[in-house]
Point group: C2
Chain length 388, copies 2
């Protein structure tokens, strides 16, 4: 299929491009290099500096891969998006092109407005491009499990039937997120659901948990096919951060009690989920919502697993509880359903000690690059108040 | 109280300013003249040309009213908003400054993006200004009954308790709106609810139904204190449009079957609702949601009421069903609760024949200004598709 990946330079975007390319799809990536730009501005290092998209696509081709088209552009610019749409005529668009950091969205007014603007205008432009240029095109949107928050009831897969005063109806599962970033994803869902109902678009919305991992099969050909790997407080997801902390000998930073539970998945499972979504499109007028994670862990469980795996290869690291910079429930019920992607054929890779030691070994190779001062939490959910 | 009214030049904004001013509040209005500008651009006439805000505020003062401060500025510009906030030090902000037209939001990509941008960035800026400059300030936000759509269950007042698999929790009542404009109001609710939970703001969200009427007590002093009155397909609410059609001898345009039911209220009840909300602030950390309407009618019922009232003063007008330009349920259950504003003391003014003949008489005085070609529906919910 002709696949357009928006946000194709990201942690997930580039590995998805190679994964789908190597499975016979005709891939175009589009990106505005937001992540590189903001990491430069905030002085946030990547563990490894990934070559730019043109360089990686050329390398991929030189190593025998299929052509991956590269377009540098911004989805919030409708001209740039619709031009790309016209030229590439995608049958499916994977929409990763969002500002994905909860702490970034809570840094201040400027970052909040950027997050809202980037995420919502991008999604709205995509909807308009699809509706105007090829309403049959399937949109695969990355949502987040964080949209649901931590309700006191079981989390269904996108939808819930509500009985009330003797009548009933089906609704989107209630959403109440824990950061402005996560709230923009809730707003994305509102937007997509409106246009699916009104224009009969086909949309798959993948409610993804935090992803961990760095290495995928396609990277084995050359170290320069690596993806961005962030371990800082802004863009680093929790397990990736812990791995780097273990290697650098920094106690693992558990926020608050550490009893916060989330659903996690391995990067390689993300790629397979995306392939399954792409190859099994939603029907016209369908908003298909899938909960995309493979296992649930508390932060404390993750930390202990990292401590144990590290010990098994001779690294000693401790755990340190920090005052929680976020505002979130630290003790809560959490029971989310995950069925649809398994039904489509997903075979999950659990978080084994082998997976953890693999990640530790990868990071160890780049140990000298670690800048430990970017790891500790500085962005506080309340901080705009402090400035007032 | 010191009240800042954002969108103070609008159909509701200016009457609210006078109403609160005459009841002892210290009022500042801020507006960017969006409505005037877009009506100019789209060649949409007002029934009566209202003087600008500076002129009306000066007239109000000359006639013995209190000073109403005027600031021309845009809430999507954080500098302009926070400057106004610093200078006026409001205890309560009434936020009317949204693009309020469903058809406008469905005209095309440009108008959709404008609506998203204006409504969401405006609300986010307001939240940041309040949190940074005076977190105790009460935000009174205009939502819409349209956020709920037409679910098959009773519509509660903002919140619903859900029992599911033996556990229970309280959530925002499910929202699924019928236009992009209405969807931005759903997204506003998401945004406010997030920041209320996280920053402990005080917010009242008024889920208002379509408003009708034009004359308020405060306008009796001078015809130039009149508010904007739109009767076109873009900005005219249904009953106001019907009144103008009756006077102009144009058959009343009922969209589809006309069995769509909504909750309506008189402009003078809107003003009293706003006063009640202002004088009874939400507490810190509370998102108080009130359903703001006084009676429910189907479009057919409204049309028949207008036909009868018109006949009583010698105007004969017929009803004409049009293909519905919107995508909406035309036969549906509709049973919304309205309790909180009554509990605060609202005494509704029902839609009597006297109210209707009063409106007919007002419009008749300006009969020669009516431009009938702007009334018929041209904006279709599907039209972006047709361009594709």
């Amino acid at each position: 299929m002709r696949v357009l990946i928006l946000g194709g330079d990201g942690y997930l975007g580039w590995p998805t491009a190679m994964y789908l390319s190597s499975r016979g799809h005709d891939v175009t990536v589009m990106d505005n290099y937001f992540r590189r730009r903001v990491c430069l501005e905030l002085d946030i290092p990547f563990l490894v500096d990934a070559p730019n998209l043109h360089e990686r696509a050329a390398l991929w081709r030189a190593l025998g891969g299929s052509r991956i088209e590269v377009r540098i552009g911004d989805v919030t610019n409708y001209e740039e998006l619709s031009d790309t749409f016209r030229v590439t005529e995608p049958e499916v668009v994977i929409h990763y092109a969002e500002q994905p950091s909860a702490p970034y969205s809570m840094m201040g007014q400027r970052e909040a407005i950027f997050t809202l603007q980037n995420n919502l205008i991008g999604t709205a432009n995509l909807v308009h491009a699809v509706h105007s240029l090829n309403p049959d095109c399937h949109i695969v949107k990355l949502g987040t499990m964080g949209e649901y928050g931590t309700p006191n009831i079981d989390i269904e897969e996108g939808w819930i039937d509500i009985d009330h005063n003797g009548r009933s109806d089906r609704f989107l599962f209630p959403r109440q997120a824990g950061s402005l970033y996560h709230t923009t994803k809730v707003q994305d869902t509102d937007l997509l659901w409106f246009y699916v109902r009104t224009w009969g678009l086909r949309v798959t919305d993948l409610m993804q948990g935090p992803v961990y991992g760095v290495f995928t099969e396609e990277m084995r050909f050359d170290d320069n096919l690596v993806t961005h790997f962030n371990y800082d407080e802004i863009f680093g997801t929790v397990l990736n951060r812990f791995i780097v902390q273990a290697v650098a000998g920094i106690p693992l930073t558990v926020y608050g009690t550490g009893e916060q539970i989330r659903g996690y998945l391995n990067l390689i499972d993300t790629l397979e989920c995306l392939r399954l979504a792409v190859e099994n499109p939603a029907t016209r007028g369908e908003l298909r919502v899938c909960n995309q994670f493979t296992e649930t862990f508390s932060v404390n469980e993750l930390a202990r697993k990292v401590v144990d795996a590290a010990a098994s290869i001779g690294i000693n690291v401790s755990i340190e509880n920090h005052i929680n910079p976020r505002i979130e429930a630290e003790e809560h019920y959490y029971n989310p359903v995950r069925r649809k992607l398994l039904d489509l054929g997903l075979e999950p890779h659990p978080l084994t000690e082998e997976v953890l030691t693999g990640m530790l070994s990868f990071v160890r190779k780049h140990e000298e690059c670690i800048r430990s001062e970017v790891i500790l939490p500085r962005t506080k959910w309340q901080q705009t108040a402090a400035k007032g």
